[in-house]
Symmetry: C2
Subunit: 328 residues, 2 copies
């Protein structure tokens, strides 16, 4: 395991501190915790909080700042933040306008957020939540629904922009849910990642194999396939996205997200095909984000997200944002 | 070689097209070439052009846009752009105010840029250049001087911001050279990268080894060392930077640059130590950029750059920028 880390026990703490120190004028870490908030908060508007496991950097803490998140609550590596961590974040950013929590749809995250939200509500805080479940590869008919993937970053952007405008909690939630309804993602991985505490890869792939539909923590996808060209891989992924939601005739934002170990070069090559294929299928691209936005440590692979946008969502997507990992 | 690519011959073309299509409203590719320019150019001011080999994405093309580059000229993978490609870029963005070319100090780049600049000058275009040679690990007393590393991105930002303000070519060049004079970088690598045409790693590192002082294309560094902690690695790198330039008592911008295969998590952990160590050594950090800004494809490793800043450089560093890979 070749990682630039120090003590295993300190990974999450050092990581959050390293980020906060990089933007000391705009980020603040709560004492005895890894919760990150803005140094300045307008207390009179809805606050937006996002939480997920660590190992997905720059998510969640890299998105705290003007126009996006008020608070980020990272858990341990590949583990949901605990209810008390989430509650700490909610309390810190809560005002009379309330707090919208955004989470990705994994069992632990859903349970822990539910508990934290109930505790906050008992304290008289207005809290609501939006669950991102954008992974078209995990629709296995389970009652728990689909997994959440990198599309969550787009929802953070939309909700953060709307909250910044000073509208009510219900309206921010409605808009985030409207965006989520038209959001689909699928990922592939060509190499695993190593959870530091375990010291070995979470799964094995042969030299000529990739996994299609991989989850954010290495959960199995829809199939293990021979390694193919960028074009063949992206075509299969887009076919699955286009079969799942009627994007034909729509305008979309595209997110080509690297999982941490994939060179930006390859993400650009993938988008060359993606942009062409979407045009052929009568899907109009409004804008495309390419980069490492929600990763799985050093995993090689990428995901493609499509978010259907209307004039309101476009305005929110374009609205100014000042965070460590995303600016407008 | 597990890469998401298509035909080997098309890598550079598809990559540039994929980027341009992601930001079609602001980027334009010149016909029959990989030169990228802005869709809109104010013709009455100094233009800034940066060129380097491909394989360093998002550099150079990801930095074209308002407040940074007017043109980017990528070569083949790990090869300088040719004189005719550079000349094409210069011609496209030239106005009576002239063109400033920024390049990294590698023999091929220096020769090709020199030739292109001479040809442009013969056509009556005012062109000048700034060579970035920030690698403290390559000072081997050679007449060719030090290699250029990721610090070039900071020089692109500074020069682009100043050119945007409408000052003269000489002034933009002076400022860029002043910034370069206080700029130092050192890199380490823990795994090699694979040039697609070659299909195998450019060098070998054992499971417990890393290379300190590695160049952008895998050039050997100052030593091959056993893999160490993030802290021990960064301490050694900072000691070399601090020994090379009198940063004590200065204010600096820090760039923690991932080489493509290093998780953002690790870059954050590294900065936790870097920020602490610089404070201990009486170096004040004005701002820190963390991410994959100038890569070596899937190479694992990172570089640390320090750029001494004064009020003028801080204002240029903070000035608005709208590019695919860097926004303010």
């Amino acid at each position: 395991m070749k990682k630039f880390i120090n003590e295993l026990d300190n990974i999450e703490a050092e990581m959050v501190r390293g980020l906060v120190r990089s933007k000391a004028h705009m980020l603040r870490q709560l004492p005895d915790s890894n919760v990150v908030v803005r140094t300045q908060k307008k207390r009179e508007r809805v606050a937006v909080l996002f939480g997920c496991g660590s190992g997905h950097e720059p998510a969640p803490c890299g998105y705290v700042g003007y126009g996006m998140l008020d608070a980020a609550v990272p858990g341990s590596i590949f583990s949901s933040p605990t209810p008390d961590q989430i509650l700490k974040g909610i309390r810190e950013v809560a005002s009379e306008s309330g707090v919208l929590c955004i989470l990705v749809n994994y069992t632990g995250d859903v349970l822990n957020f539910r508990m934290a939200i109930q505790m906050a509500q008992m304290e008289g805080i207005a809290v609501d939540s939006v669950v991102v479940a954008d992974d078209v590869a995990s629709d296995t008919g389970k009652a728990t629904g689909r997994r959440g993937l990198a599309g969550a970053i787009l929802i953070n952007k939309i909700a953060g922009a709307e909250a910044e405008m000073g509208v009510g909690l219900y309206e921010v939630k409605e808009t985030a849910e409207w965006a989520t309804a038209g959001l689909r993602t699928i990922g592939v991985a060509s190499s695993p990642c190593i959870v530091p505490e375990e010291g070995k890869p979470s799964f094995e792939l042969r030299d000529n194999e990739m996994e299609v539909g991989m989850g954010l923590h290495g959960e199995p996808g829809v199939m293990r396939a021979p390694m193919r060209s960028a074009e063949a891989t992206a075509r299969d992924m887009l076919d699955r996205l286009l079969a799942d939601y009627k994007y034909k005739g729509c305008e979309v934002v595209v997110l080509i997200n690297g999982l941490g170990g994939t060179p930006v070069m390859e993400l650009y090559i993938i988008n060359d095909f993606v942009s062409r294929y979407l045009a052929e299928h009568d899907v109009e691209v409004y804008d495309t984000m390419i980069g490492n936005y929600m990763t799985s440590m050093e995993m090689k692979g990428f995901s493609i997200s499509l978010m259907r946008v209307d004039p309101h969502l476009k305005a929110l997507y374009d609205a100014p944002a000042r965070t460590a990992a995303l600016c407008r």
